[in-house]
Amino acid sequence: MGENGAGKTTLAKQLNGLLRPTLGRVTVDGDDTTKKSVAQLSRKVGIVFQNPDHLLFSETVRDEVGFALKNFGFELGVIVKQVERTLEALDLAHYADTSPFLLSGGERKRVALAAVLAWEPDYLILDEPTIGQDYQQKERLRNFILQLNSQGKAVVMVTHDVEFVAECNPKVVLMSKGRIVAQGQADEILSDDGLIEKASLVKPQMAKLFSQLGGFGFPRDVVDVHRAKMLLEEKLSEVKVRVAQGS
């Protein structure tokens, strides 16, 4: 996370060799990225760009999602199965024969994601995956990311969507002006006024709420609704009992 122009996308592009460092070293599984081709690195590191139109070109959604698999030399049976599975997972199966260019912005974004997920890279880099997604799609995406993560895949997400991050509670790397300025768990980072200011973010609504309710003895690092509800439930029930006893 970090302000516009902080260097997030530039860093992401270093991870599959699209950009190479002019100073220092980037390694993927121990291999220096300057010694590997983008094609070799891509097999391990899949990047989904911010703008889906930079990635889409096929005539149908099915072809688009199968394209990389074909190039990586998978067998036809595997390709068909893998494409179907990915389309299903991203709620795109009904668009299999549609041109990606007839779809809405949010839908194209999901096709781009599917096109990368299909070959199951070990490392998945998502540049602003929630743009143009409605809440249901975001929930789907969140579950999908958590599932991949639990299968041992590393997911790196570039995003400004503080509420989405609050719900996922991942490790956050905060960037500003080309540097990493903080690292930590999302609830710590997103409730820290100084860091939020520095990286041009805003607090998630729950963090705003709890920083203003500080006088009632609540913790300040609350960022998600469910924790907020539990804390308030307890306090409000106490109040209710007190009021009932008092009257």
């Binding site: 970090g2 302000e3 516009n4 122009g5 911010q50 703008n51 139109d53 007839l102 809405s104 912005g105 949010g106 839908e107 602003e128 743009i131 143009g132 997604q133 409605d134 809440y135 249901q136 799609q137 975001k138 400004h160 969507d161 503080v162 509420e163 609050a166 990286a199 041009s200 973010l201 805003v202 998630p204 609504q205 729950m206 705003k208 709420l209 203003q212 309710l213 006088g215 009632f216 609704v225 907020a228 509800k229 308030l232 439930e233 306090k235 409000l236 029930s237 109040v239 209710k240 007190r242 009021v243």
Partner: protein, 288 residues
């Protein structure tokens, strides 16, 4: 809201079906928007929000082929009778993806492109460009090439280019997608100022209600090409929370929190739409 200030947009039974598509993207849309209103247009992915916006400046049916039905008036004139170039003086459109509308070699030239093509005097063009770049916060970028800017900076330049046309309506299609949250708030604030100072009608398409909720007076919710809710933001959220939530609309987290507490009988007030009102109500209860 609408009424006293006059209608700027009026749709009656508006329908549209994209060529090659099996279903209607817009189905019997009737809505009146008054001059100077700030309308939040929302709904699940693919519900027809962008399609409705494309009708407002004539991109539909002039550029996107398909079958249009019903009536749509912008500033009293039927869209069907106007060219997109004529309509673009009235309705400015900031697209989801700013790259789609930037092309000149410098930011300043890009912002000047619209007014130059209106055949205005040099002084008028200069004045408009300076004003628009100032209002959108792009003065410092004026000599840079649009393609070397970050997504957020590009979005500001796109906004400046639209402002320079001095339209009566600005449509912003998910304008803050590419922006960091602080910049997103700044842009929405700048748009709201423009509305207050110049009476520009603002229509924002957005999934994130928390961001726009504080500026918009009115929310219009679409689903399957139809308008399914329309009213004041607080009223609609309070009355339709469960239904909107079922549609997959990103409701403000404070409203969600409140609805959960309300379900458990711990609070009884109307759903808050922003943090400040929730803080006030909770402080009051907790002080008991």
């Amino acid at each position: 809201m609408a009424g006293t200030q006059g209608e700027i947009i009026a749709a009656r039974g508006l329908g549209f079906q994209y060529a090659g598509s099996a279903s209607k993207a817009l189905d019997d849309i009737s809505i009146v928007i008054g001059q100077g209103e700030f309308v939040l247009l929302t709904g699940p992915s693919g519900c027809g929000k962008t399609t409705l916006c494309r009708c407002l400046n004539g991109l539909i049916p002039n550029f996107h082929p398909g079958e249009i039905s019903g009536e749509l008036l912008v500033d009293g004139v039927s869209v069907a009778a106007e060219t997109t170039s004529e309509l673009s003086r009235k309705v400015g459109y900031v697209f989801q993806n700013p790259e789609n509308q930037l092309f000149a070699l410098t930011v300043e030239k890009d912002v000047a492109f619209g007014p130059e093509n209106l055949g205005l005097t040099r002084e008028e063009i200069r004045g408009r460009v300076d004003w628009a770049m100032e209002a959108a916060g792009t003065v410092a970028l004026k000599d840079l090439a649009p393609y070397e800017l970050s997504g957020g900076q590009q979005q500001r330049v796109a906004l400046a280019g639209v402002l320079a046309m001095k339209p009566s309506v600005i449509v912003l299609d998910e304008p803050t997608s590419f922006l960091d949250p602080r910049t997103a708030e700044e842009i929405m604030g700048a748009v709201d100022d423009l509305r207050r100072e110049n009476g520009i009608t603002v229509i924002v398409v957005e999934h994130r209600l928390d961001l726009v909720g504080r500026y918009a007076e009115r929310i219009v919710v679409m689903d399957h090409g139809r308008i399914v809710a329309d009213g004041k933001v607080e009223d609609v959220l309070d009355a339709e929370f469960d239904r909107l939530s079922g549609l997959g609309i990103g409701l403000p987290k404070v409203s969600l929190l409140w609805s959960l507490l309300k379900r458990d009988g711990l609070v009884s007030e109307r759903l808050p739409t922003h943090v400040e009102s929730a803080v006030k109500m909770l402080s009051q209860r907790l002080s008991n």
